[in-house]
């Protein structure tokens, strides 16, 4: 047996370790390099069991590899409105928003969720592997445009190594959270955040996630991370690794930077128009506006195929033998019991229901263009 295709990991020496590294090892987590960090790809129960737990009960994920940046100062709002596709000015204190950080060509440097903590203070979460690029990009604009000559008008602080981030996800998370937190949090609105405590440990809780399920993400002070993880695990939540996280986000049709989006891909091509403002000026806004008005040559679509042999990143999508697209991500979907993938196809093939061929290592199989997301969580009866 010899591995010929695996989800790509960025192999670097001297990987960073989260505060939960020893916890993962003790739990039997299989540690792999990802985005400059050593992270668990799965625990002994396996990816399928972990996905099942999140879709049916609760799961916890160590997502401390993702960055935590504070942006503050009188020009912080103006700065964020210059580097983000979404609006900071219109975001109310107490709310969070998902959007993109684009380059001048409209390509995606990173996608992010940012939280408005106060009138002139924000928390922004970049992806693990993109944190250095985002920090450098932000610093460049701060120095050039918003705090020239070292004024204090906009300041950035990277607290990634002083804090941890834990995601608590699944249909059981809302009911469980009030038993776990010191104050009730179950009536938080999606994409809002609150300051709370878990058995005395201060946490910043957002009703956000990357699984397609309801749930919470918690920013925890560094020395409380293990304690908060343990409390969540003791509540019955299943520890889940990067493998489950990837399957869950794929089922939910959520893009992963480096796959569906990158510096050569625009949010318009990726179908992320609703996270892009066309009524403000910012880096890349001219290009994005032009694409919105004139259309793009290729667009991101979902594809499904019967059975369990999965589309994988890089496989070609064909129409009558001619390459018309490329897969960006794919997996067997345990929730839907079929194989699913996302990829770019020429604009004329984007209609759901269209059938195309997929070249799976020389084998040709028929795939159906499918509306995203593949999986939508059932509404709660309340």
């Amino acid at each position: 047996m010899r591995n010929i295709c695996q989800s790509d990991n960025i192999l670097t020496e001297d990987n960073l370790k989260t505060a939960l590294y020893n916890t993962h090892v003790t739990l039997g987590g299989r540690m792999v390099p990802f985005g400059g960090w050593d992270m668990p790809v799965q625990y002994p129960e396996g990816i399928l069991a972990e996905v099942h737990a999140v879709r049916n009960a609760t799961g916890i994920f160590d997502v401390s590899h993702m960055g935590r940046l504070y942006l503050s100062g009188p020009k912080a709002t103006e700065f964020l409105d210059w580097v983000l596709t979404g609006s900071a000015a219109s975001l109310r204190v107490g709310r969070a928003r998902y959007c993109m950080i684009c380059n001048e060509k409209g390509g995606v440097i990173d996608d992010t969720i940012f939280y408005r903590l106060a009138e002139d203070r924000y928390l922004l979460i970049p992806n693990a592997g993109n944190r250095p690029a985002v920090v450098a990009w932000f610093q460049r604009w701060i120095d050039e445009k918003f705090s020239p000559g070292g004024t204090q008008d906009c300041l950035m602080e990277d607290v990634t190594d002083k804090t941890g981030l834990i995601a608590f996800q699944g249909p059981g998370a809302v009911d469980a959270i009030d038993k776990i937190a010191d104050t009730p949090l179950s009536d938080m609105r999606p994409f809002s955040w609150a300051e709370a405590a878990i058995q005395g440990a201060p946490v910043l809780v957002g009703r956000t996630g990357y699984t397609g399920e309801d749930g919470f993400e918690m920013l925890v002070q560094g020395n409380d991370v293990v304690k908060v993880w343990q409390i969540l695990a003791d509540s019955g939540a299943t520890p889940c690794g990067l493998g489950a996280r990837d399957v869950l986000r794929l089922e939910a049709g959520l893009p992963l930077h480096g796959h569906e989006i990158d510096e050569e891909t625009s949010p318009i091509e990726a179908g992320l128009d609703r996270f892009v403002r066309f009524d403000k000026e910012y880096v890349g806004s001219d290009v994005l506006k032009g694409q919105q008005e004139n259309g793009v040559a290729r667009k991101l679509v979902g594809i499904t195929l019967p059975g369990r042999s999965a589309p994988r990143a890089g496989y070609n999508i064909l129409d009558q033998g001619e390459t018309v697209g490329t897969v960006t991500s794919g997996s067997y979907s345990p929730t839907l019991d079929t194989s699913i993938g996302m990829g770019y196809v020429l604009e004329r093939y984007v209609e759901p229901g269209a059938t195309l061929d997929l070249d799976i290592r020389g084998r040709t199989v028929q795939v159906t263009v499918t509306e995203l997301p593949f999986y939508k969580r059932p509404r709660r009866a309340s």
Binding site: M1, Q6, R308, S309, A310
Partner: protein
């Protein structure tokens, strides 16, 4: 500890003489291989009658996260494949040395088995990986 009633390859396949059919071998992948793969979701195996060659590609195995080539441990002709794996590939995760066997092969030369690794050699080999 890998069972000592069979032989092993560096590609993490095992092969044993089929006690029920003279000159036939049963082959599969090892406990180490299934553990490395994680949840297995799909096998592509050769067909009955196909010729397989020692360390030649004979199929593929897909787990949730990875695709791997499968190599035949011996030369011969496929006489049977484990049909149960088509619907239940997880049998290989659960019992790689038993219920999760992959194929049966009419061996070209039974003596080829002597050249493969013993269980002790294989266990030492994976301990060093």
């Amino acid at each position: 500890m890998s069972p000592d009633d069979r032989k092993y390859t560096q590609e993490h396949e095992w092969v044993m003489v089929d006690p029920a059919a003279v000159g036939t071998a049963i082959a599969g992948i090892t406990e180490y291989a299934q553990d490395q793969l994680g949840d297995i979701v799909f096998f592509e195996l050769p067909k009955v009658g196909d010729a397989v060659a020692h360390l030649g590609k004979m199929g593929e195995v897909e787990s949730v996260k990875a695709v791997s080539d499968l190599f035949s441990p011996i030369n011969g002709t496929v006489t049977e494949i484990n049909e149960k794996l088509l619907d239940h590939p997880e049998l290989v995760n659960e019992d790689p040395f038993g219920e999760g066997w992959l194929i049966k092969v009419a061996m070209t030369d039974v003596a080829e088995l002597d050249a493969l690794m013993s269980s002790q050699d294989y266990d030492a080999f994976i301990a060093g990986l």
